[in-house]
Each structure stands twice: as structure tokens, then as C-alpha cells.
Amino acid sequence: MNITNSKYEEALERYNKKILDASAQEMVLNMGPQHPSTHGVLRLELITDGEIVKEVIPHMGYLHRCFEKHAESLTYQQTIPFTDRMDYLASMNNSHIWTMGVERMMGIDKDIPKRIEYIRVLVCELNRIASHLIAIGTYGIDIGAFTPFLWCFRDREHIMGMLEWASGSRMLYNYIWVGGLFYDLPVGFEERCREFVDYFKPKLIELNELLTNNQIFISRTANVGVLPMDVAINYGCSGPMLRGSGLKWDLRRIDGYSVYPELEFDVPIGNGEMGTIGDCWDRYKVRVDEIAQSLRIVEQCLDRLQKELKRTPDFDPRAKMPRKITPKVQDFYIRGEGAKGELGFYFIHNDARSEIPFRVKSRGPSFCNLSVLPAIAKGVMIADLIAIIGSIDFVLGEVDR
């Protein structure tokens, strides 16, 4: 197969020429695909002038596992394990949003029992805490602080253990199913979870004392990588990135899906406490504050799960599961707040008897958040670039899908 239309190769040639034409003063520096601070297999091509980064060209695709192609040949239920592998640090959130989309397409989203919805929110928020702990811990390591990394992983281990207890797997759970759950929570889960919350609250204060108010950390992150709100919106940033820029935009509040309208929590935003609004420190702080809010949600979920929605012997989390998942012919876009931002799935279903979607497009928050990097990393020092990358907190599994 030979393509003769040069129009489609033009951009590639332009890029090749740009790299070749780097002048004698400039240096083309490859950061990654195997670099500790890129948090995965991301390759950044830097055109540098001394210590100054003149341009960043990200190259993705090293972790592309053809999620959308797989989804076109598997049923809705079978695709759930694949959604887990997108943002593998917050798998519960991915499958929650996927199942929510399928349930709305089938029109059964109102029939899901309250206990199931609360369990879903509970595990999603636990997973969000785990994801933010990784973001904070590895951010510390990028900046040069080793201790917070160990502390964060120590605390995350409790969450991993609890979710393994519930689902049988440490990271890729396949726990939330269309119309129900894999199993009910194991007996004693609520008590164990409450123990964790009581254990974790003082640890969060310790973490704040160690990192948030650390002068070295502040000097490295405040006023670095400032992302103004209008730029963030135009580049499609969402989640802690957008909130760090000072916009109160949380889809859990805006769309009010699942049982989030019944729960009390605040939406923390960046306010430029240490430098400018939208700098790396603000994004970091938003994540720390979100952990505290997630803990609040977890506590409220536990209250209800132990009182009015208490487990009963005849409760079957698979009771509402449809035998065949055959939605009506339609297009549907579902969005929800993943750990990194707005996670969306666009379904096209064109055969009312089929259980397989015609086309699925996934909108990964990390993908859009990363796309702002070339814009905010222009003219910074290489060391600051590391700080910016860490503060974006992307997961390559979701960028490449």
C-alpha cells in the first residue's frame, strides 16, 4: 500500500525538519520513554538552549492497547475489565462511569438499589484517595523528597488491601458490573474501613506538615508552571488541573450522578496561597484537600451502609443485572469525575439486538491534561519541567488507552 497524497505526510516532514534544523546552540534532548519522572512510558522530546526548554514535543502511544478496538468486539459487560486498565490507579472510577453510561442507555439507572450505589461511591472514593496518594508521593520523589513517597505508599497499601478483600484483586478490580456488583462487601468491611479512616486522618496532618509547608517544596513548586484558568478551559483540562486554576468545576456536583447529591463535600480549588493561582503548588494542594473531602464522603457512606442500608442476608447485588445488555439504538456520551478529571465514554449503538457497541470512544482526562504541557512548559528550566510533569499527574494507561 503506497500513499501518494503528500498532504497526509506533510506534518511529519515538517516535524522531522524541525528536529534536523535545531541550531548549533540548541540541543535535542530525549526524556523518556524510560525516565523516572515521566511516570510511565512517555517520551518527551525537548529542544533546549542550555538549561532553558524552548519546546516540548510529547510522543505517546507506547502503552496503546487498542481499548476502542477491543470494545467494538466485546459486549458491554466484557469490556469492564478493559476499562480498569485505562487509569489503572483508579480502576473503580473507570468502571463506575462505564457502567453508569450503559445503565442510562438501557434506562435502568433509577432501579439500582441504594445499597449498591453507596457501595460504588464508597469504593470509588477509596480508589480516588489511593490515586491521589500516588500523585502526591511520586510528586515528592520528583522534587527530591523521598519520605512522603514511603508514607503515601504505606497508607495506600491499606486501601489496596481492603479493595482486594472486596473484589479479589489489588489494582484491576472488575468489581462494578452493569446493574450491580460482583459481590456484596465482605462481612466486617465497614468496620475495617472505619478503622482505616480513623488511622488515616492524623496521617494526613503529618503529611501536610512534612510536605505541604516544606520550604524546599514550596520553592520548587510555587510560581512554577502557572496555568491560567482560560488556558486550562481551552485545552480541555479537568479535575485537579482545572480546579487548581481556581475554577469550581467538579462533575460530581455539576452532574450530580449516582448518590453524590445526597452526600456532603466541598470542592477545593487553588487560591494561590503560596504563589500564583494555578501553579504547581496549587494543583498539589487541591489533591491533598480532595483526599480530606473523599474521607468525608467515605465516612458518610459508611454511616448509611451500617444503618439504614445495612446488609441483609437476602440482599443480592446481582439481582438487577440484566440477562442481556441490549440498549436501544442511540448515541450516548457519559461523563463523570474520575480521579484525574472528566472521564467520558461516547457510545454508538446501532443494532437493537446486539450486545456489542458499534463504536466506543473514550475521553481520558490524562490525555487532555497532558496536551497542555507544551503550552505551559515553554521557556522553563529543565528542572522545573519535572515539577510541571509531576503536578499534571497523568497515567499513561489512560493517555494511550
Binding site: M1, I3, T4, N5, K7, Y8, E10, A11, L12, R14, Y15, M60, G61, H64, C66, E68, K69, E72, R104, M105, I233, N234, Y235, G236, L247, W249, I254, K328, Q330, D331, F332, Y333, R335, E342, G344, Y346, I348, F358, R359, K361, R363, F367, C368, S371, V372, A375, D400, R401
Partner: protein, 165 residues
Amino acid sequence: MNLEEIKSILIQKFGESVIVGEETTGLQPALMIDPDRIADVCLELRDNPKTYFDFLSCLSGVDYGVETNRFGVVYHLASIPYQTQLTLKVSKENNRNLDNLPSFPSISSVYHSADWHEREAFDMEGIFFEGHPDLRRILMPDDWEGYPLRKDYKNAEYYKGIKID
């Protein structure tokens, strides 16, 4: 702001021909837009104080199947001030000749987030975007042949002389 009001704003600005159809049966209604005017429509929807669709949630390239030979792009816009959502669709027929890809105007000058999304649509469906600043492949290697998410795509047997199992 409902769909009728958005339609009347667009018709007032661009004339009747800009909206070529609409889908109101599903849960999320969609407007079909004249493919050549999509960038202007997006700019108007973004800047008009009555709509302010300032956030591009998602941009998907779609191959509507081998029988129809139709390719399309679906835009999911969101308005942050008004907390509303809107779906726009454009589509075109194409004979699947790899020398003549279906081509739509790029909206990356309106929403920067469209930049990478359009690269992905180019990479996966082989949809060309006129006026895109840097339309290279994004997820597949630069020398990959064919467009994997097309419905007539045949799995590659070799990549650089290496057999793919």
C-alpha cells in the same frame, strides 16, 4: 438554553443551510452541521454570550460502516457558565481510497483540546482535518499503514519485517 434556541442563533448568523438535520430521538439530541462551516459554528457557540460553549469535552471520529461509506466527526461541547451540554455532528461520504481521506475543517484554532483529539481521529479513522497545525499520528507509530478503527481494516501481518502474532 435549549436546542431550539441554539438552532435559531445559528440560523440567524449563518442562514438555514448550516443545519442539515437533527436527531432528537435519543437521550441526547444532536445537531447535524454543514461540514464546511463547523469551525465557524464552534467559534460562534463558544463566543456568543447566550451559549458560551467554552469546553470541548470530546471529539470522536466515526466510521459509519462499510455499507454506507460515510465518515463523521462528533463534537461534545460543554458550557461551564451555563452547565449545559451540546452534541454536534458532521459527516461526509467517502470512497475509502487512502489517497483521498474524508476531510473536515479543523477546530483546533477554536479549542486547543481539539488538537490532540483530531490527531487521534486522523490516526485511528483516517480523517483529515484542514488547517490543523500538526496533523501527525499520535498513538500509532509514524510509519504505520492503514487506519486501525476503520471498519474495513485488516490486521497488519508484518511491521518492519517482523511478523505480528
